[in-house]
């Protein structure tokens, strides 16, 4: 009895610091943001006073749905929102088709090389995120070797030369580059666990090499694919640094808008509404992914 109650207390003590941390820095700000969304913007940022006193001395609550109606009726916000979704989808797709073969290769390589190969995947994390984006600005810049080669080829075939940097393509290239390890790691963790006997069994029972990939490897790695896609897609939606550094006006994302509302336009309520919409969208997508993962993937791995 005393044992179990002391164990209970231990659990609470252990859970306390992260709970306090998340409450102060995540839960309370989120609730604040929801409140701000219903307020009027202040003249110089922040929000207007909550209670208004008119000339007759009557006071009234200064709450409004203006920011919501503005956000939902504004086609520019919708465009940014859809673009963010689109960019994230394209990024996730490229990460998957680049990351999957790589993860498979690492998982199938000899044990003694596996750790080294895995290390190479996470080596980019050793340098700062911004520095890596700046490096891409060099690579894609107008005077870079890559730009020159691409444009020479384009001119050779009678096309107009293009700017690689400050384009939607540059944004997607950088997003793919930055997010690739987040795709490879969960895929590797999954593929590495596959029993090689299953592939042999598939071949033995009359399946060709490609059948063993599509009928065995892919379905078994679905949990890894879903995890990787989630880890790439979700942070991608809110990304604002990459479009700001390597994009142009036509490649701004929802993150840029939110940042703008808070820091430049000083319209906190609109920024909050946009944030809430984005958070809800991400939540909906996570739930959807979770639902599919539990339906298809969870079952398959229960046998391990």
């Amino acid at each position: 009895m005393t044992q179990s109650s002391s164990q209970k207390r231990e659990k609470w003590v252990l859970a306390l610091p992260p709970s306090i941390y998340l409450t102060c820095l995540f839960l309370i700000p989120t609730i604040l943001m929801v409140f701000i969304a219903f307020r009027q913007p202040g003249d110089y940022g922040g929000v207007a006073p909550l209670v208004l006193h008119d000339a007759t001395g009557k006071s009234s609550l200064n709450l409004t749905l203006d920011s919501f109606s503005y956000a939902f009726s504004n086609s520019f916000i919708w465009k940014l929102f859809l673009r963010s979704m689109m960019f994230s989808l394209i990024t996730t797709f490229f990460c998957l088709i680049i990351g999957y073969p790589l993860a498979l290769l690492i998982a199938k390589s000899k044990k003694k090389y596996r750790d080294l190969l895995l290390l190479l995947v996470i080596v980019p994390f050793w340098s700062n995120f911004l520095i890596r984006v700046y490096a891409w600005m060099m690579i894609l810049g107008p005077s870079s070797a890559l730009s020159k080669v691409v444009n020479q080829v384009l001119v050779l075939f009678g096309h107009q030369p293009v700017d690689l940097l400050f384009s939607s393509a540059a944004v997607i290239i950088c997003l793919v580059y930055i997010n690739l390890p987040f795709m490879i790691l969960p895929l590797y963790a999954n593929l590495e666990k596959h029993d090689p006997a299953l592939i042999e069994a598939c071949r033995d029972l009359g399946g060709t090499n490609s059948a063993s990939f599509w009928q065995v490897t892919i379905p078994l790695s679905l949990p890894g694919i879903l995890a990787g896609c989630g880890l790439v897609f979700i942070p991608c939606i809110g990304m604002f640094v990459v479009p700001e550094l390597v994009g142009n006006n036509c490649s701004l994302m929802i993150g840029n808008l939110i940042k703008q509302q808070f820091l430049q336009n000083m319209n906190w309520p609109l920024g909050s509404v946009t944030s809430i919409v984005m958070t809800l969208a991400v939540l909906a997508i996570s739930l959807l992914v979770g639902f599919f993962a539990s339906r298809s993937g969870g079952l398959k791995y229960a046998s391990k």
């Binding site: 299953l198 042999e200 071949r203 009359g206 009928q215 078994l220 229960a302 046998s303 391990k304």
Partner: protein, 362 residues
Amino acid sequence: MAILELKNIVKQFADYTAVNGVSLSIEQGEFFTLLGPSGCGKTTLLRMVAGFESPDSGQILLDGKDIKDLPPEQRPLHTVFQSYALFPHLTVRDNIAFPLKMAKWSKADIAERLKEQLSSVQLEQFAERYPHELSGGQRQRVAIARSLVDRPKLLLLDEPLSALDARLREHMHVELVRMQEQSGVTFVYVTHDQSEALALSSRIAVMNHGIVEQLGTPREIYSQPKTYYVADFIGKCNLLPAVVIESNPSSYKIKVAECIELVLPNEGIEVTLGQSGWFALRPEKIKAHWDPRHEDGVSCVKARVKGYYYYGDGTLYEFILPNGVVLQCMLSNNRPNQASFFQENDEVFISINPLAGNFLVK
């Protein structure tokens, strides 16, 4: 007619020779067992037949055709893996249907064959379950049903019972023999468990260090081992040092453990005077009495009881022969009275029939 013929198969890995010139001929409908300790090359041999390894030299003829260069999916045979290798993302039904789908059978044909196959292994009520929802024995049956569903010419089984507990294993012995007889498919079975091999097989090849030491029926393998290795590996066996002391055209005499003289009929093996070897004698083929017995051709020798182990149905005695050699002797407990049970240090007389054992030349 031989369904599978292996001709002088050699397989070398980087640092050792796994299979060193094996030739075997396996008949249609046989339950053939490759028996040996781990590392004897039996699994490598099986994997070469299945197509997962390719031999360095030699031929693998299935139904007269060399299949050595065919990929696994084009060989009309299947393997039951040690881990079963059931597809965890497919139900029992889909697992069993897998080979048919790969062979592009029509839906109607698949449905019909599935029904038949599920009922033959009594898995109808588990058809919609996933492998992890089944017991070990059920998984085993699914694995075999999956491998037999398209009636292959040959079924290779790689230690399929090693993951099961002892009771279930015995139950699966009966199942395996039933499935083999029912399907008529030739089974090539790999195991390191000699009692399993003896119980199941129509013929056994005992392998050691990449070669076949002896090939024969379970009865031949057990009662007439040809080499020291086979005698030692299969069952319990007394291997007593022996020397040829007389050699005639029709018979020869050996001296076993410096104290027992036995006359053996000369059946094909070349023996020369002074040749040394072993006399292999199964513990249950020895008789022990309180007093000396004199029968024709049977040698009787005095021994002392060193100890015994009570096994229920029998008692394993250890006797010390006059020269100090220990002889193990299994005596049935189905004996008339308690007086015939020996105690430690009792002096007894052991009679050995030369025809009960085998002289193995060095």
